[in-house]
Assembly symmetry: C2
C-alpha cells in the first residue's frame, strides 16, 4: 500500500510553458494496480470534476499529471509506472464516460519527443533520450527518430533500426533503446511531437523545415544540436535562428565537447543548453541526462551557438600550428588567443559578453577537444605537411564534404570587413586568407604574435 | 652625422621605481664615436653641471641615460651602442675630473640581471634574457647566472658554460648567449644585481634566500618562475611570498604554458607576468620578450601564481581520467571542471575573482598544456594502467623526485578541511584521497559528476 499523489494544474491558453496554476492535490491508495479505497477514489473523481469546471469558467486548459512518485516511496521504473497509470485509469472505471476524456488529458500533456536526424550524433543522443523518457513522467515513452531512408545491404535502414535496434550505417555496434522508433516520413515523424531535436547536417535544415511547416503541434518547441553557421553568403545566420524563422517556434541549442563515438561509448562528458527561458531549459536538461552525460543551462543561447561555430576557425589555425611546429606550448597559446578572438567577435556581433558562458562545456571544453582531434584540425595539419590544396584534402579525407572551419572563417571575414575590423582579428583574418587567398601558412605565427599584443578582454 | 639625445632625470631617494623627474634634455651631434661639435659638447657639460647642482639642492639622485636612439636614426645593436657610450664619455674628456663621476652615474642606474638557477627552465629563459638586455639601454649587457656547481665529465659546469656557452647538463644542444656569465657563488652572483629571476626547484628557495640575505642591493626586486606551493605542512604559502618574506623585497611572478624545451627551440609561446605595480611589470615584460615569447602583465599576482600550483592537481585528475577511458571528451570535461574548481578555490583563498586572469596564458593555456603532456598527467595515467603505487612510479619515472600534484592536493585539502569545504571541491578532494587514502581511482568519474552538478562560477 502506497500513497500516490495526483495533481491537476491549469495553465493559460497562450503557450506550453506558462507557470501552471495548482488547483487541487488529492491523495489515494493503490496497491499493484488495484484501487484499494473506493471512497477516496470517488473523492478523486469528484475533485477532478470540480477542478475541470473551475478551469472551464476561468477559460484555462486543465493539465493532469502524477506527482512526487519517488517521494511517495514508489519506484520510478517504467514497468512500475505502467501499473500506476493503470491504477489511475481504473479510478475512472466507475464513471466510464469520463475515461477517454481524462485519459486524453493525461496523454495530451506529456512531452512527445522527435529526433530529427539519425546520423552519428543523432544516434548517440538517441541512446540518451530513449532512456530518459522512461524515467520522467512528463515524457511519452516512445521517441520518434526521423531517418532519411536509404538501403543498407538490400534492406531499408528504418526497418533495420526498428527490428534490430541498431543504426548499422551511422552508429554500428551500439544498440539503440527499443523505444526509439525510426520513421522515414518526416511529416509523420514530427506530427504528434512537441519537442523536436534537430540534428541533421546543416545543409538539410531548410528543406526539412519547409516540409514540416504546417504539420506541427501548436505547442511545439525545438533544440538544435547542429554546429556551424549557415554559410551561404547571406551573412551570418545561426542555425537555430534559421529554424525559428522558418517554423516560427522557440528554439534552444545544445553544444559542448561531445564526440559522438565517445558519447555512444558512455564516456563521461558534458554539454551546455543555451535557451532564453529557464523553464524550457529545465525540460531539455531532464531529457539530455545520463549518468555519463551532464548538461548545464545557460540563458545566453547566442553565445553558446556561436562558440560551436567559431571554434572551427580556431581548430583550423591550431592544425596549421601543429603542422608547422608540433609544439604543445604553441597550440595552447593558439587555443587561448583563439578563444579571446572568439569572445571579442561574439561581443562585436551580439553586443554582450558574459565571460561565465565561456567556462561552460560549449566554450573552453569544446574548443580544447576540437583543437585536439577534430576534422578541421586534422585537415589543416595535413594541409601544411602534404602541400595539397584544401579542396584536394576535403576530397581525400572527408569524402568530398566541405570543412566547416574555412567556410566559417569566410562568413566571419565578411562581417569583419563590413565593420572594418579585419586587423583587430588577426587569427580569424589569417585563417581566411590562408584558406582562400594563398597567404603563406607560416604567417599564422605572425598572426599569433599580433593577437598576443592585443589580447585583452 | 646623427642626432643623439641625452636626458638627465632625477628621482627621489626612496626606491628604484619612482617616477623620474625630467630636468633637462640636450642634443648634440656624433659621428662614429667622435664628438663633432665641440661647442654643443661644452653646452652639454654645462647643462649637466647645472642639473647636478639642482639635484643636490633638491636632495635628489641624478640619473643619466641615452634616450630615443632608434628615433634618432641610430642602430641599437650592441657594437654600435658601445660606440655611443664612448662618444658620451668623450664629451667629458675636456673635463677629466668628471669622467668617473658621470660614468658611475650612467652605470649605476642600469638594471643588472641575475638568474638564480640554471636548470632546464632557467637555461631556456637565459637564452631570452641574454638577448633582450643587449636591446634595451636600461639593462646592463652582462647577465649573471647562478650555477650550482657540479662536475660534468671532470670539468666544472660553470666553466663549461662560460667557455662553451652551453649548459651541457640541463639544456644540451642549445647555445646560451655569450653575455650569460655562470657564477657558482650565489652571493657573488647577486651582489651587484637589482633584478633577480628565481628559477630553482622550490625546495632550494629557503637555503638560497638565507645565503643571500644581506648581500643584496637596496634597490633590488625579484620575479619567481617557480611553480607550486611550499608544501611542508605549514599551510599554503606562495613561493613568491616566501621569498618576499625572507628577503624583504618586492616580488612578481612569471607563469604560463612554457615547456622549457619548446621555449629553447623557439616555438612561439606566451607567459603571464603577475605583479602589483605596472611599472615594474613593464620592466619585466621588456626583459622577457622575444619574437617567439610574448608576455602580458596582470595586476593579480596571487591568482597568476596559484594557477601555476593548482593546475598540477587537475593534471593528476586528467591523468587518472585518461588512464581509465582515453576519452578526449572526458579530458576536456575534466579540464573545464578542474578550472572551475581552481577558480572557486582561489576565490575562497584570496577573496577575489577576476575571471579575466584565467584567460591569460597562466590560466587556460598552462592548464591545457599541463593536462596534455606534463609529468603529473603522465605519472597519474601510469598509476591507473600499471597498478603500481605513486611512490614506485616517482622512483621509476622521476628518478625519485616528488610529483607536485599530489603534494599540492594535500596542502589544498588541509585548507579545505579547515573551512569544512571538502564536499564543495569534489575533484580536489578525490585527487587527494586517491593519492593518499586508497580511494579507488575510478571514483574520479563520480567526482566529475558531482563537480558538474555544482560547477557554477
Amino acid at each position: 500500500m502506497h500513497s500516490l499523489a495526483v495533481s491537476i494544474d491549469t495553465k493559460s491558453n497562450d503557450g506550453l510553458l506558462d507557470t501552471p496554476l495548482k488547483v487541487c492535490v488529492v491523495y489515494f491508495q493503490i496497491s499493484s494496480g488495484i484501487v484499494a479505497d473506493i471512497e477516496s477514489t470517488d473523492l478523486v473523481v469528484q475533485r477532478v470534476d470540480e477542478t475541470l469546471d473551475r478551469c472551464k469558467r476561468a477559460k484555462r486548459i486543465p493539465k493532469c499529471h502524477l506527482l512526487d512518485l519517488a517521494a511517495a516511496g514508489l519506484p520510478r521504473e517504467p514497468q512500475h509506472r505502467r501499473k500506476q497509470q493503470q491504477a489511475l485509469l481504473s479510478i475512472f472505471h466507475p464513471h466510464p464516460s469520463r475515461i477517454s476524456q481524462y485519459h486524453c488529458i493525461i496523454m495530451a500533456n506529456l512531452y512527445k519527443v522527435c529526433i530529427v536526424g539519425s546520423g552519428n550524433w543523432g544516434s548517440a543522443i538517441a541512446r540518451i533520450v530513449g532512456s530518459t523518457v522512461t524515467k520522467f513522467d512528463k515524457f511519452d515513452n516512445s521517441v520518434n527518430m526521423y531517418v532519411y531512408e536509404e538501403m543498407v545491404d538490400g534492406r531499408k535502414l528504418s526497418e533495420i533500426i526498428n527490428t534490430e535496434h541498431e543504426n548499422v550505417k551511422y552508429l554500428p555496434g551500439r544498440k539503440l533503446p527499443e523505444n526509439i522508433v525510426a520513421v522515414p516520413d518526416i511529416k509523420e515523424a514530427v506530427r504528434n511531437s512537441n519537442l523536436l531535436i534537430f540534428v541533421v547536417p546543416h545543409q538539410f535544415v531548410d528543406g526539412i523545415c519547409n516540409q514540416i511547416k504546417g504539420s506541427l503541434r501548436s505547442d511545439v518547441c525545438g533544440i538544435s544540436l547542429i554546429k556551424g553557421f549557415d554559410c551561404r553568403g547571406r551573412g551570418i545566420e545561426l542555425i537555430s535562428s534559421a529554424i525559428s524563422r522558418l517554423l516560427n517556434i522557440e528554439m534552444s541549442v545544445l553544444m559542448g565537447a561531445n564526440i559522438a563515438m565517445e558519447v555512444a561509448d558512455e564516456s563521461f562528458c558534458e554539454a551546455t543548453i543555451g535557451c532564453k527561458d529557464r523553464k524550457i531549459g529545465t525540460v531539455w536538461k531532464e531529457l539530455f541526462t545520463a549518468s555519463y552525460f551532464r548538461t548545464s543551462i545557460v540563458l545566453d543561447p547566442q553565445t553558446v551557438e556561436l562558440c560551436g561555430a567559431l571554434k572551427n576557425i580556431i581548430a583550423v589555425a591550431s592544425g596549421f600550428v601543429m603542422g608547422l611546429c608540433h609544439s604543445d606550448n604553441t597550440r595552447a597559446a593558439m587555443i587561448r588567443l583563439g578563444l579571446i578572438e572568439m569572445i571579442r567577435f561574439i561581443t562585436e556581433f551580439y553586443g554582450e559578453a558574459r565571460l561565465e558562458t565561456y567556462f561552460e562545456s560549449c566554450g573552453i571544453a569544446d574548443l580544447i577537444t576540437t583543437c585536439s582531434m577534430g576534422r578541421n584540425q586534422r585537415v589543416a595539419e595535413a594541409f601544411v605537411s602534404s602541400g595539397k590544396t584544401l579542396a584536394e584534402l576535403e576530397k581525400e579525407m572527408l569524402k568530398g564534404q566541405y570543412l566547416q572551419g574555412p567556410l566559417t572563417a569566410m562568413e566571419a571575414n565578411k562581417f569583419l570587413q563590413e565593420k572594418n575590423l579585419e586587423k583587430d582579428f588577426p587569427i580569424f583574418t589569417a585563417v581566411y586568407e590562408i584558406c582562400y587567398h594563398n597567404r603563406p601558412v607560416k604567417t599564422i605565427i605572425d598572426a599569433m604574435r599580433e593577437a598576443s599584443t592585443h589580447a585583452k578582454l
